[in-house]
């Protein structure tokens, strides 16, 4: 077990193989070796760390199909594992665009929390978690296929293009005409 201390001074006992999915923590553990010393996480609050470690309640909650079944209509390219247990898919660059029910329940957080989790995932160096958060946000699952207007609405982004940029974008839009 590893003892983690959050920015608001809460302590978390967590299994070593789970926290080692974080490259940052893995490196820290390698540096200090076997030690009972707590690992400080000054950039992660307890509420965020709870979200990050919460899924480690165990694989038994997920059924054989939810994790390992894939059909032509539901593209599950990697077994749906709790995000912190997820191996990085960097090598293959495959994406999962369909989200399991388990993931759906887990990700129900407001945008501020989402932002905090993204920052924490980046700080802890858990790439897969970082990206899952993004992909799972909102009612649709695939940000890669959202219209820009929806993305703006979802994330409160202002359309601040200059007229010249708008003209260029309009030209790009013409390439979309029913090809």
């Amino acid at each position: 077990m590893v003892l983690l201390v959050t920015s608001d001074n809460e302590q978390f006992q967590t299994e070593k193989d789970i926290v080692e999915r974080s490259v940052l923590i893995k490196n820290m553990l390698e540096d200090v070796g076997e030690s009972d010393q707590p690992i400080p996480l000054p950039n992660v609050s307890s509420s965020v760390l709870k979200k990050v470690t919460q899924p480690s309640t165990g694989p038994t909650e997920i059924d054989v199909r939810g994790r390992y079944l894939s059909t032509a209509s539901t593209t599950v390219e990697s077994p749906s594992r709790p995000p912190i247990l997820e191996q990085s898919q960097d090598e293959t660059r495959k994406r999962t665009t369909d989200i399991s029910e388990w993931d759906q329940k887990f990700i129900t957080v407001d945008q501020e929390m989402l932002f905090e989790i993204i920052l924490a995932a980046n700080y802890l160096d858990i790439k897969s978690l970082l990206c899952r958060r993004w992909l799972q946000d909102g009612s649709q699952h695939d940000q890669g296929a959202r219209p820009p207007e929806e993305i703006r609405k979802l994330f409160n982004i202002v359309n601040d293009f200059t007229p010249e940029e708008e003209a260029q974008i309009k030209k790009e839009n013409e390439w979309a005409e029913d090809r």
């Binding site: 694989p59 038994t60 059924d63 054989v64 199909r65 994790r67 390992y68 079944l69 894939s70 059909t71 032509a72 209509s73 593209t75 599950v76 390219e77 077994p79 293959t92 660059r93 495959k94 994406r95 665009t97 945008q111 501020e112 989402l114 932002f115 993204i118 920052l119 980046n122 790439k127 970082l130 990206c131 993004w134 992909l135 695939d142 940000q143 890669g144 296929a145 959202r146 219209p147 820009p148 993305i151 703006r152 994330f155 409160n156 982004i157 202002v158 359309n159 601040d160 293009f161 200059t162 940029e165 974008i169 790009e172 839009n173 390439w175 979309a176 090809r179």
Partner: protein, 525 residues
Amino acid sequence: MAFQSQSAAPVISKLEEYDLNITLSQQRISQLFTTNERPQDHELALIRPVAHKTTARLACLEAEMSRLKDQLGQLEEEHCVLMACHTRNATILSPTRRIPVEILSEIFSWSLPSFRLPSVRNAPWNLARVSRRWRAIALAQSSLWSRICLDFSLSKTYSLAMVQTQIERACTLKIKFIGSHRSDSRPQVDMLQVLLRYSSIWEEICIVLTTALVIPMAACRGRLPLLQRAWLQWDGPESQANIDSIDFLTVAPSLADITVRSHHHFMPTLFPVHHLLTRYAFHAPWKTHYELLKSSPNLHEVRISRNFDQGVPWPVPGEPIRLSHLRSIYVSHVESLDYLSAPVLEEIAIRSQRRVDTQSHLAPFVTRSSCVLRKLCMVGLPDVQSTEEILNQYPSITELAVRIMDAKKNLKTEHDVLLTFFPRFTISDSARISPHISKLDFECHNVHVIPYTLYVDMLDSRWKAPDCALTASELLLPNTTVDPDPESLARMETLREGGMRVSFFSGRVAEERADRWVYVASWVV
């Protein structure tokens, strides 16, 4: 602007609290109401007070409703102002604004769809149309634009200008180009010409060739300095008409991984002569393979598919070709092993043949190589007896995969193979075949032949046997999306809950996973 709620509204009584009854019979009231008859004096005396009371109360209600309407209007006005304020604040405070550029870039890279026919509706195009910041980040990240997938078998046309723009935003290119002789060749050739202008930045090319595409492809000969991976395939026998050989890869100094697939005719393909080649897969006569293997000492992985030389006898083996770095090999004919030595080989996939004794070729090869095999994959219609013999002889093999494929697509034959394997690998008092196997995988092309009960019986028995090492199993059914029967599924679930990694895949993912067993290169463009 100040908003203030109205003071206490008058109490509105419930309807039943009024006495609106008129002490006349219902029949008489109905009669007066539905005719023009003049009420009698005593009736007027009864009706008038109730009418006055009703009129007064109506006036009161109307006044109250008017007041509430005014109040609602004020509330709506306040709500409208506050909503505008809220939207403004939410926009200003949006966490998205605070996401650092490097994180947003990383997120963008994960937003790319896995199969990306170019479309401005998809990432990265849509991301570049959100805001100035997003556009700047997307355009600065050249890797977002480097993958181009064009599939002309879908009868689609693609915008040359769009692809040209995408190329200009990329630093290197990973291209998947599916040509089709059934579609108009002109747009295909035009698009290929655009891509060929940038062949100096190609890193990967996966191309399905047609006759019309081979000619322009010749232009890239000697102009592929960065190309690392190549996959060449033909769109049917018509596509190979009038083509004698392919030589545009001959000068590709970075090329490390080549796949050449041809199921129709042998197409001589000249590979670059250098020692960088670490992987190849080729459908070719044995003589071609032999020469390639001799000139590629740094192979890590190879798929030797002997084809197009049926009837040609195997030559007498001489000094074996030593492949010092080879870790994985697939052979369509186990006789190929007679010519090789691979001291660090770990994984082997063998297509079984009816009249060939696999062991008589595998055993001398393993002895000669002194390799320690870890994984065995049997392809085709393997015989359970000879598979068992191999496992017994090489206890270092801890993973077995069986890919059942009948070239004649005979369902009964596939069924028979499963009916022999599942019971044979079931642990019982009298049979304990290879208890050291830790992973046991099966792929079957016809879902209707799967005896699920036997499969789960086998897993269950190995899981429960105290000296059995089985911890994982995959069942792959590429040609279906149908679940196993509920009872078998529930039993698999129970095994999962107990800790065994039971995996069930179907459809495209199943096919991809099974392809990995036999070292088919994965192309994720």
